[in-house]
Amino acid sequence: MGELLNIFIKSAFIENLALSYFLGMCSFLAVSKTVKTAFGLGLAVIFVLGITMPINWLINSVLLAEDGLFGTDLTFLRFILFIAVIASMVQLVEMVIEKFSPSLYNSLGIFLPLITVNCAILGGSLFMVSKEYNFSESVAFGLGGGFGWFLAIIAIAAIREKIRYSAVPAPLRGLGMAFIITGLMGMAFMGLMGIDPAAVG
């Protein structure tokens, strides 16, 4: 259990998908104008990462691995299968939420399709493969990674809401400033690099 908590904390803070690996930047920059929308997208990312990670783990180890079901190395199909899982999971999640919680669907709805092309999701799955996590570890990694991404987008949205009242040079306003803020936040996150939660806790 402690090991899983370590992975959760590590993937949420130390190896933050948004601010250490800079994944999912397109939607990160596009949807972080207000905290409210950022909150919706962040939740959706936690959701989808938490679900696709274990499924992709199963696909990778049961179908694609050399000692898997087909007995041959099928890893060259990894990209296609992973992205297909992500795309179909996003659609499925969308349908389920629409059916059971229309209010959540209304607040989350428009962000769900965006997530398919959020590279934090595919990147997360690919990292999971290269780190050789087992099943429960991959769940912890998925949830932690999603949570870290959620925190990061809330943080930048809050900063962007405030900075609107500052005297930024006109050409730098909006997008340009968002890039620079993200860069500075990333540098701050580098301070956490290399911390081993197992050694600290």
Partner: protein
Amino acid sequence: MADTATVKEVKKSSLTFGKKEKALITDPLNDTNPITVQVLGICSALAVTTGVKNSLVMAVAVVFVCLFANTITSLLRKRIPKQVRMIVQLVIIATLVTVVELTLKAINFESYRQLSVFIGLIITNCIVMGRLEAFAMGNDPYRSALDGLGNGIGYGLILIAVAIPRELLGKGSLMDFKIIGNTSEFLVNTTEVSWLGWYANNNLMVLVPSAMIVIGILIWIHRAWNPKLVDVS
């Protein structure tokens, strides 16, 4: 077939190269640049721009994927069922990306080792997907190909524009060719000192966060030079 998400055919297919066709290629280089205006495909732009060489390889890969994904989608646009549109597009992109990956592994193993995961992330590079959805699904193959080419090149140009200051200031070289500063703080012999030998490499430029800042500054320059892009909100 009304249900194939066809926006509206621009013109009936003709293979002329007029003003409109030229704009398909030149617009993404400036007014509708994928990175600095549309903010698409940032992730891979950050990670691979530590060196000009890697950026060039990546740029070629993206141009290839953009061009063929657009053309193939456009050829199939009337046959793709709307319900599975997204998945079909992703499969087309993912196939092309895997083709690129396998080819790169065969012709330039060293670049393959350095770019590894980021080649895969072209799949989720939103420009490719965005162009398929916004253009290729509604236009003929010839124009879609031009559009894909334009966007791929527009993307590649910014990659290289970001990579040049990063490699020059971070490693003191361009295309691995030593230009300024010492080779390292552990200088072995004086022949390794090049132009501006007092310059010490700024390692910060090689780190990913500085790429964000370099892109931010590029956007600043771009918008100062092309004021109609300034964000008024």
